[in-house]
């Protein structure tokens, strides 16, 4: 029997030294001492499930920083960006933002990307009464109703319901009006938020729900689901899915010949260039949500220059090469923050927040005004339809013509092809 080992002085001092060394290393805020910069801090999903969007978002914010610094900075001071990787893991958020605020001593914080990463940040900003620009999260402020929170996602005043609004309004306008609806989505946070909105709309429009199920996100094969939906022959199919399932559903629907009159709605991932080029022509006819499309109606001031710079950097960084989804919004979020700081000539959290709340901003994604709970006063979730895609070449997606904006009216850039089957020929 071994005698229980006591670490002794040597052992303990070894441990102690190691700990102290590591802690000191971590705490040392290595700031490039330029002339008193304004520091903006954030955590961002650079690794993990959301990094495919997180990395472009960070790049967009960096482009803004460079743009601002080229024009002389904010309030005459250069802007410095301090960021850490949140690994798409909400439990890193308290630690990261505490370090940003208490060790790096940033002047303003911006959120990370995604509902799950913004959620743990809310109590921290509320406790310290900070202004927070949120980067694409769904309904983070519903429970808290914190006045200094502002969300750049254009979901509008009732974010959960509005996801499906455009899609169902388009459906309702068709003649003859669709009668039956199939709802399907992944067992995960976003679809769980989006599907109730779709259900509400179906009831409001008097459509009968003939299929309403969810599937586990790790599903490999979507053909059983597509077949089950086809079996009930719905007029409308609304899907709330994440990228892998979006691809799986579309491919499965294509294989089993599922052709409702209108198909799509809430599929995340179709906005990514890699998904568009991979699916190619089988995307034709799908009506889906989006935030931006390279159509003439969406060319706001500054956006062309932004994409020129983004696409140059994206090529080297190996991220989404076109960036037509999240990046302009990330840029707009910090653009608004910068404009507010300049307008109030201060770094005071409350003054800046008050200014943001009552001003209509002109950004690279157009005019932005915030309303209740920090969401957009008016929803601008687009509904687009993929038309005329041939083959899988990337270049066809760079310019207008393949992703037609159908909704809302003021950004409409073409006519809808209805029913879905007609677009598939």
């Amino acid at each position: 029997m071994r005698k229980p080992w006591k670490p002794g002085i040597l052992g303990w001092s070894l441990v102690g030294v190691a700990v102290v060394a590591l802690v000191l290393a971590g705490l040392d805020p290595s700031t490039a001492q330029t002339k008193n910069p304004i520091k903006i801090g954030l955590g961002m999903a650079l690794t993990g499930g959301l990094s495919a969007n997180g990395k472009p978002a960070l790049m967009a914010i960096q482009i803004w920083k460079d743009d601002v610094n080229r024009k002389g900075g904010l309030l005459g001071r250069p802007v410095e960006l301090i960021y850490y990787d949140d690994q798409t893991n909400p439990s890193t958020v308290p630690g990261i933002y505490t370090k940003l605020l208490d060790v790096d001593k940033v002047d303003f914080v911006v959120s990370g990307y995604g509902t799950n990463l913004i959620a743990p940040l809310m109590p921290i900003v509320m406790e310290r009464k900070l202004t927070l620009m949120g980067i694409l999260g769904l309904a983070n402020n519903e429970k808290y109703k914190y006045p200094n929170y502002f969300q750049i996602q254009p979901a509008g005043p009732d974010p959960e319901a509005n996801w499906a609004t455009g899609f169902f309004e388009l459906a309702a306008r068709q003649n003859p009006k669709p009668q039956t609806v199939a709802l399907v989505g992944a067992d995960a946070e976003y679809p769980r938020n989006a599907l109730p909105g779709a259900r509400e709309w179906s009831k409001k429009l008097g459509m009968k729900i003939v299929y309403d199920k969810t599937y586990p996100p790790s599903t490999v094969d979507y053909t059983p689901i597509a077949r089950a939906i086809k079996a009930v022959n719905p007029d409308v199919v609304f899907v709330a899915s994440y990228p892998p399932d979006s691809v799986g559903m579309i491919r499965a629907a294509n294989e089993v010949g599922l052709q409702p009159k209108i198909f799509g709605g809430g599929m995340v991932g179709l906005q990514y260039t890699s998904v568009m080029t991979s699916l190619g022509p089988i995307l034709n006819g799908i009506v889906n949500y989006d935030f931006w499309a390279p159509e003439p109606t969406m060319m706001f001031p500054g956006i062309k220059e932004f994409f020129a710079e983004y696409q140059k950097r994206a090529k080297e960084a190996g991220v989404d090469p076109l960036g037509y989804y999240l990046p302009p919004y990330a840029y707009a979020a910090v653009q608004i923050l910068g404009q507010a700081i300049e307008a109030t000539k201060s770094l005071d959290q409350q003054k800046v927040a008050d200014h943001i709340r009552k001003t209509e901003f002109s950004t690279i994604v157009g005019k932005v005004k915030f309303g209740q709970n920090g969401e957009w006063a008016k929803s601008r979730v687009l509904q687009v339809q993929y038309q005329g895609i041939k083959g899988t070449d990337l270049e066809q997606f760079r310019g207008p013509g393949k992703k037609i904006v159908l909704y809302p009216e003021e950004f409409k850039s073409g006519t809808m092809i209805y029913p879905y089957a007609a677009a598939r020929k």
């Binding site: 971590g26 690794t47 909400p90």
Partner: protein, 307 residues
Amino acid sequence: MGPVLVALAVLAGGILLASLRVNPYIYFAGYVVLQYIVIATAWNILGGYAGYVNFGTPAFFALGAYTAIFLMEAYKAPLPVLIVAGGLVSAVLGLGIGYLTLRLRGTFFSIATLALSVVLQTLIINWDFVGGAKGFTVIRPSPPFFGNWALLLFTVMVGMAAAAVVVARFIERSWIGRGLSALRDNEEAAECMGVPTLRLKLFATTISGFFLGVAGAPFPYYVTYVEPASAFDLNYAVNALAMPMIGGTTTWIGPVIGAVLLGTAQQVATVTISSELNLLIVGVVLVFFVVLAPEGLVGLARRLRGR
């Protein structure tokens, strides 16, 4: 009584550190490291002492967290109740899994724990009362001490870490520990010598589960937003393995050393280098230790001192 006094002294030290209110970041980072001390120690009671590898650490941890959430939502229960309940529920899970599989070979137990996380995660995803896939937002009441949740949770975790270590040390030196060690070396021989192997194994699984659950129970308060994907994060499984492996699995101090070193390194890495590289390093270090230094740092130190 000696170790208990030391534990109390550590707890007092923690309270003192909290009331000093130094840089808040220390409390956030410190919480995570202390949490890992509890997790690593708990894992080691079954893995190191008994030799049964539990890959399902996330299941036990998350169960503690979700038990807390359930009680918060249903009964507005205070923190001490949440902790005890979280521990008990995870203990029952440990007992259950143990009862199902410990009569078979160790590898079956390990495989069962792999599957356990997936099953539990699916159940939680479908349970809307605790937030399901959407996640659960915790609205924290006013903290009863310190006026600041970070400080309070830090102190609580110091207490937990001290308690876990005291219990592990007690087990190690008692007849239970000797029995576990015997069955780890050769289960059949231990059986023949009259060691009640099944009961010891069940005991170890239950205690291990208890402390894993206890480590998970304050997690909702710490992070204020809990969703299944990150509560069941595979990192808990890897770290629960790596920390005792690095520190040394045969004694109570191994997991502590491993947790402090690896945990601190990871906290630092989160705010410095790329965190994926950090994950890769954990994997490489784990394999390195398992292949070349299976007795961990404790074992290396022993060999250096010529014992």
